[in-house]
């Protein structure tokens, strides 16, 4: 269940569209729900969103499974989404991915045992000039080097404690 504050936010989002077009709020509300409920969308969460927007649950499932930013399984507290498309590859993203794998001892798509980190490879995030890069939460981490990756991991560990 959303808090009063979040429910107001949902109302505000729905008000952006003409009357009866509240389905348009689906993607923004799913973002909100994912942030609020542990970084992923469970079936219950999606059913809740469907009830908020008065649409059929299947309409939510269809959308949530289409867009790559919605996690349908639990993820770690910090998700490293490393870009691997052409421009990043030219700048050595493969090495960065390998480095993170070794450093955290996980494969792509896996989460560390302590539930802190998940490694994902993603396709172009629009930071090609600042490659290699990854998305961490709301922000991009650019010009990655092994040293920078170390620092980021350390930073996350400190924040988690």
């Amino acid at each position: 269940m959303f808090s009063e504050e979040k429910l107001n936010k949902v109302k505000e989002i729905i008000a952006r569209y003409p009357a009866g077009k509240q389905k348009s709020a689906l993607i923004p509300v799913l973002h909100l729900a994912q942030e609020e409920f542990g970084g992923w969308l469970s079936a219950e969460t999606m059913d809740y969103v469907a009830s908020l927007l008065q649409i059929k649950p299947i309409e939510v499932y269809e959308v949530a499974t289409f867009y790559s930013m919605f996690n349908l399984k639990p993820v770690g507290k910090y998700v490293f989404e490393v870009c691997q498309t052409g421009p990043c590859m030219l700048r050595g993203s493969d090495n960065i991915i390998d480095y993170i794998k070794k450093k955290l001892d996980i494969g792509v798509g896996e989460t560390t045992k302590d539930g802190l980190f998940t490694l994902k490879t993603v396709e172009c995030l629009g930071a090609c000039g600042y490659a290699p890069m990854m998305q961490l939460g709301k922000h991009f981490r650019e010009h990655l080097t092994p040293e920078k990756v170390d620092a980021i991991i350390e930073e996350c560990r400190v924040k988690a404690n």
């Binding site: 959308v63 790559s68 498309t85 052409g86 421009p87 700048r91 172009c124 600042y130 998305q135």
Partner: protein, 454 residues
């Protein structure tokens, strides 16, 4: 220094905020349009400017605007396409992050011209921090009477909303974007009907790229006539180019469309040459979907003329020896890069991003990816190269939206120009996993950019 129209004030500190933007002449064009011009007069200026869509297709903006249907009592919508997802392209991000008011002013003028009272900025979900910047700028503009009801006492109303996507390249296609904005899967619609007649919520809608809408501001400032004097021929004005890959100075550059590709790559004002003293091997000048060109065809056309950074010159020679300006995602490959690997990453990208509606794209993109994986990993066969060619040929042109073409072109161009490199991968599977093919003959006619003397 090349003349600038969008980034001319980008260096001013605090230009992101309303006060600084306004103090430097910001909202002057909007003032001019709303106070002293009719929508038709603004449209006329845009038509005169020769502005072409900056998202990739290069369709004349004035003409697109004039198509919008105006049935009585039906709202019209302007949608700003900020779903910048074409690999190599990151120019709109820069514009929105650093000069958000330029976009808002452009949206205001464009909405006024089209008669829209609601406008949506559809931004890719991964640019998660930019909606905050845009919403702050919208709030500032509203506070200062540039948005909301009765703007500047002219009686014109406009609300701008920011909508985040959630990770789907396909939503950069205008009808998929509209579907997504309606809260659905990003499946492109079959055209006709075109959005100008039946778009968002079945109402007439214009979808334009961020840069296109921002360019309306300088057009009104200097006049359409003057704007059209920038650049060469039908490539009028300036273009944002996001340069990346193996160059010394990756970044977003505003160029006047009258410089040569060679100048763009090698001059210190722009890319600053190839990184680490290497030589240029190939380049994809307009985002991942446009054909890759080897160095010799990139700098000079097949006729031997210098290739310019314009829509026409880059397309000179058609797909046989030319490419496209596209979205301006300029990806440079040096002599150490592997064309097969690069093509594979793009094939993987399009496979990942195919919406799955049309069978050729849904099935064909995955097939191309797997065949390329085999070739790259030393398991390829000679016949695989022809197979790839045949698959891409059967995807191209046979799908609802241009994603099929976008997936087919990079593979086609790589085979067309770099077939020997593919063959080398097949013939030397062991060696191909250890080292790269190198430069070969692609740069032979080039006198410049030789590596530093040993």
């Amino acid at each position: 220094m090349g003349r600038k129209l969008l980034f001319d004030k980008a260096h001013i500190e605090g230009i992101r905020y309303y006060d600084v933007y306004r103090a430097n002449g910001g909202y002057g064009s909007a003032e001019k349009a709303l106070r002293s011009m009719t929508p038709d007069q603004v449209l006329d200026e845009v038509k005169k400017s020769g502005l072409r869509g900056r998202g990739g297709a290069g369709f004349p903006t004035g003409m697109k605007w004039s198509f919008i249907a105006k049935p009585e009592g039906v709202p019209r919508y302007l949608v700003c396409n900020a779903d910048e997802s074409e690999p190599g392209t990151f120019k709109d991000r820069y514009l929105m992050e650093f000069i958000p008011h330029l976009l808002i002013e452009g949206l205001l003028i464009s909405s006024y011209t089209l008669g829209c009272n609601s406008c949506y900025i559809y931004i890719r979900g991964e640019y998660a921090w930019i909606p905050d910047i845009l919403e702050q700028a919208i709030a500032e503009a509203k506070k200062n009477g540039w948005l909301g009801k009765n703007i500047q006492g002219t009686g014109f109303d406009l609300e701008i909303y920011v909508q985040r996507g959630a990770g789907a390249y396909i939503c950069g296609e205008e009808t998929a974007l509209i579907e997504s904005l309606e809260g659905k899967r990003g499946n492109p619609r079959i055209k006709p009907p075109f959005p100008a007649v039946k778009g968002l919520w079945d109402c007439p809608t214009v979808v334009n790229n961020v840069e296109t809408l921002a360019a309306v501001v300088p057009i009104l400032r200097i006049g359409g006539e003057e704007y059209s004097k920038y650049g060469i021929g039908k490539s009028t004005g300036t273009k944002l180019i996001s340069a990346c890959g193996n160059i010394n100075k990756p970044g977003v550059y505003e160029i006047e469309m009258n410089i040569s590709v060679e100048e763009f790559i090698y001059s210190d004002e722009y890319c600053g040459g190839i990184a680490n003293g290497k030589r240029l091997k190939a380049c994809i000048p307009g985002g991942s979907s446009v054909p890759i060109l080897p160095a010799n065809l990139l700098l000079k056309t097949a006729k031997g003329e210098p290739r310019m950074m314009t829509y026409e010159s880059l397309a000179d020679g058609g797909f046989a020896t030319g490419t496209m300006l596209g979205s301006g995602g300029f990806i440079v490959l040096d002599e150490d890069q592997c064309i097969v690997k690069n093509t594979l990453t793009f094939a993987r990208f399009y496979h990942h991003e195919s919406c799955g509606q049309c069978s050729p794209c849904r099935e064909g993109t995955g097939w191309m990816k797997r065949v390329l994986q085999n070739i790259e990993n030393g398991k390829g066969k000679m016949s695989d190269i022809d197979l790839l060619w045949d698959i891409q040929r059967k995807i191209e042109g046979n799908t609802i939206c241009p994603l099929g073409d976008a997936a087919a072109w990079p593979v086609a161009a790589a085979i067309r120009h770099f077939r020997d490199e593919f063959e080398w991968h097949v013939l030397h599977p062991e060696e191909a996993t250890k080292r790269n093919y190198g430069l070969a003959h692609y740069a032979d006619p080039l006198q410049i950019a030789a590596p530093a003397a040993v």
